[in-house]
């Protein structure tokens, strides 16, 4: 009589990540949280300029259906030296897009270490943790850490105002159609 082995080899859990560069900093993001990768040029005519004094990391918004997607300049967000950005990550299930320099590579991480407890400012919201790849420590960004609820409210207020003004302008310029009796 043969018994089936009850021992199962432990499976190593892994997560696919995208390593990207912004200014001189290498950062990682879960590839599951990135829906689209677009070049800056492909969105040149689509993005509208937006200036909200309280949200200095956002300069552009994209309109997708009735949703406004806000483009966060990653260099400004992390306080890095401004650099010429070439790519945009549109995040999944989010109204945030990230403006960055370029993709370094795609890889997998098997372990995510918590940010040491000594770090206790904005970085606790910015990062999910730290991962070690080829003896390098890479911060893994938190996709929900780029804009706060208050910042979304401020941005929505401005985009809604702009949209209403545009609609008013469009209706004022539209040719009047009268009923001829």
């Amino acid at each position: 009589m043969r018994f089936e082995s009850t021992h199962k080899s432990p499976t190593v859990r892994s997560e696919q990540i995208i390593l990207f560069r912004c200014s001189s900093q290498l950062l990682a993001i879960s590839s599951a949280s990135v829906q689209e990768v677009r070049s800056v040029d492909s969105l040149a005519g689509v993005a509208s300029e937006i200036i909200v004094p309280g949200v200095r990391t956002v300069r552009h918004a994209l309109q997708r259906g009735d949703r406004s997607i806000y483009v966060v300049n990653v260099a400004l967000h992390f306080g890095l030296k401004p650099s010429p950005a070439s790519l945009i990550f549109l995040l999944r299930k989010s109204r945030v897009a990230l403006l960055l320099d370029g993709i370094e590579k795609m890889t997998t991480m098997t372990r995510l270490q918590a940010l040491p407890a000594a770090f206790h400012n904005d970085e606790r919201r910015w990062y999910r943790g730290l991962t070690v790849l080829e003896q390098n420590v890479i911060p893994v960004v938190n996709p929900a850490g780029f804009l706060t609820d208050e910042e979304f409210i401020q941005l929505d207020l401005v985009t809604n105002q702009d949209r209403q003004e545009l609609a008013a302008l469009a209706s004022a310029n539209a040719p009047e159609v009268g009923l001829v009796t």
């Binding site: 918590a114 000594a118 770090f119």
Partner: protein
């Protein structure tokens, strides 16, 4: 030496930061390591310099030189990895030091109310009066962290 004589004697590690010598309770010291690559990433915790990698774990680096001597440390000869504890949280921190450290036994005099918060006690060694450091007063507060952070396995997508 009688038992009562030994009761006030504590093991301490002497460390050099710039031109000055300080002490740390020996039970707070994990190890002394050669300086390794420091990894820096954007953050707003001023007291921290970055992190080093030690046996696969990240250890925050906290340079005490400016706070203790008023000058930045020009050369880092070693990192003293020390434990710090606040309430139930315990974490290691790497302290850059300018020279080799020495384990000694010395009598401690508790700090007085007029002493700086970073002084937990005083000791006398080789004719020098040395501050025994209170790491909790010198390093950032420990934020309780949910541990361990798990990676998310990739989701299978079927067409």
């Amino acid at each position: 030496m009688t038992w009562t004589d030994q009761a006030d004697t504590h093991a301490c590690v002497l460390l050099r930061i710039g031109e000055r010598t300080f002490a740390l309770a020996a039970d707070q010291v994990a190890e002394l390591v050669a300086p390794s690559r420091i990894f820096r990433f954007p953050h707003h915790t001023q007291a921290l310099d970055g992190v080093i990698l030690r046996r696969g774990r990240v250890v925050p680096v906290c340079d005490l030189a400016v706070k203790l001597t008023g000058k930045r440390l020009i050369s880092r000869r070693f990192y003293l990895i020390a434990w710090r504890q606040q309430a139930s949280s315990k974490e290691t921190v790497a302290l850059p030091v300018s020279g080799e450290c020495e384990l000694i036994k010395a009598d401690l005099t508790p700090a007085g109310p007029s002493d700086s918060p970073h002084v937990s006690a005083w000791l006398s060694y080789n004719g020098e009066v040395i501050e025994v450091l209170n790491l909790n007063a010198l390093t950032p507060e420990i934020i309780p962290v949910a541990d361990p952070t798990e990676v998310v396995p990739p989701t299978e997508v079927h067409a």
